[in-house]
Amino acid sequence: MQLTEELRLPDRAERLIDAIARALQPGRSYRLMEFCGGHTHALCHFGLLDRLAAPIQMIHGPGCPVCVLPIGRLQQAIDLAVQQRVLLCSYGDLLRVPGRSRQSLLSARSLGADVRVVYGPMDALALAKKHPDREVVFLAVGFETTTPMTAAVVAQAYRESIPNFSVLCNHVLTEAALRALLSSASQSVSSVSIDGFIGPGHVAAIIGTDAFSRIAQTYHKPIVISGFEPIDLLSSLLHLIEQINQDLAQVQNDFARAASPAGNRRAQALIDEVMQVRESFAWRGLGELPYSALKLRSTYQHFDAELRFSLSTDQIPDHRKCRCPDVLRGACVPTDCTLFGTACTPDSPLGSCMVSPEGACAAYYLHRPQRLLRKAHGSSSTSSP
């Protein structure tokens, strides 16, 4: 806890804010993406966006697992709960995400579906053991941060031959998303100009900081892996700007207290044992991306809810005015969307970015006073954060 206190000291923050301002080269702009939704939330929560000088533009990335889950995949879970009457376990964040016709897991529950909020897949497996007469399905989402837990639980279910447990696997890969953002060759994503990345600390703790090297070299973009406290973020921003000034494109580890170059090898081995890369996966906002997500290996297919219930994935379009896809790839900020704060609020979300606390729209709605200016003056004068 003392460590956290030190990473929140306002004096240290002030010195870093000064250093950042001094590091800026006159006449140039800095378009920096924080990939991870946790970073977006922290920047808004601590009010740090207000303190960054105008040449710095923070672009909020797609690193919010709830936000990038396409509606069709969520609808699979809703249908399982409603039509197949399974006991569906989900992280709380997913409950209010709207599926087809604004139906959600929460609304399904109010109509009698058995939807349970769990803190992780272990809880879901425990429910399966407790209710051997029920089919228990865990709706698994997340980047590499949560994948090892899902893999561990599937492996445990396999060892213990739990017959009534399965996983709807929607785990996605960070590197694929970064590639999609940077690759002009991508069909579905119009490229967004980005000068450098604040890299996701928790993901790096699993996959290792070296895993980001290929991206940094291929696209010549500096990546600074950061923690989630104010001092973490400000230090990483300073280091990122210094790299940009020197035209460097290195992976720098500012989260060494948790992330190592090689990452967590045991977790990696576990993922590799239980899961394999899908040929393709449709991301919300980024579209269909090759080799960008994971599914269970054939050894574990008994636990794959997609196979067990013969699920097909419908392509369900986003609300026609919803700009979540643009927000997710940094092509616009939340306040640019006409639905923001009017038809779409955290209490009644239309798009996924308004649901999760890590979603950029929810972060703006909950924390950014600037959104009120837009409401008061009817303009999008707040479009640059």
Binding site: M1, A13, G47, D50, P369
Partner: protein, 346 residues
Amino acid sequence: MVRHPLRPLDLKNGRVELAHGSGGRASHQLVDELFTRHFHSSQLAACHDAGILPHVSGRIAVSTDSYVVSPLFFPGGCIGDLAVNGSINDVAMSGAKPLALTVGFILEEGFQLADLDRIAAAIARASQNASVPIISGDTKVVERGKADGVFLSTTCVGVIPEGVHIDPSRARPSDAIIVSGTIGDHGTTILSCREGLSFDCDLESDSAALHEMVSAMLCAAPDLHVLRDPTRGGVSAALHEIAATAQVGMRLWESAVPVHPTVRSACQLLGLDPLHLACEGRLLAICPTDAVEPVLAAMRAHPLGSQAAVIGEVIADFPGFVQLQTAYGGHRLIDWPAGEQLPRIC
């Protein structure tokens, strides 16, 4: 004491039975052998159906509140003193001098008489400490499983002194927002006791009756605009309510808000905001800038207000919204607390 043709209550190992709420002999025995051991008011002794107040002059303030806190006993208090202090504070927040209390018990069949005895003792102690007598009471018993041990309901009556006009609609731009002490102590204490969330904590609930400090504040500055005790929903909910009623905005300064280090740590750990956590012995005061010094002095001279601080200001912009200048100089909105973050806090 009336002698009952029943065996005496076993206050050590006995349990509440349905008959204790029936209105018959067992009910009277519970009153005589348990409650009257603690409650000595002449009003109760008179055995009227109603408590009768002496003639009072002035506007009357009345507030009623129910208490379902879990757990029933926690560091720094229990449901009993919480129920007494809570209703006294609600009346005090209108600027009134509290005169009398009523208490209703809803007991679950099987509840331990020893615990009921402790709760009754706490109620009596809190009432005596506050010099606000209990003048009427009621007890009901429901079947096992239909309640959770004991629920309490208290009502407090008070009289508002001449010249005092406390009203949430009186919050005006440029008014100062003052808090009487550290925020979120009660909420964090309850959280630390909860099953599944238990963590070591050197904290106690801040449960306390605030009317004497309010009286001192009103002596120092009769033109206080608004008083509010930030209970459920914490400082955030209280300020949102005032902002909506008065159609003003609020701006807080994060570094000025007093937060106990343990509360700060617990909030970081659990992803909570101290501004959303309940207090049971703190108040928010909104007053004109020229009243700030006398009000602060009066608060700091009282033990319950020793850490009183100005934490923000009322603004004209963004009526209905509360924003915070963070410790890092930026701004963020404070949201209404999300529902059911922490049920049964009081």
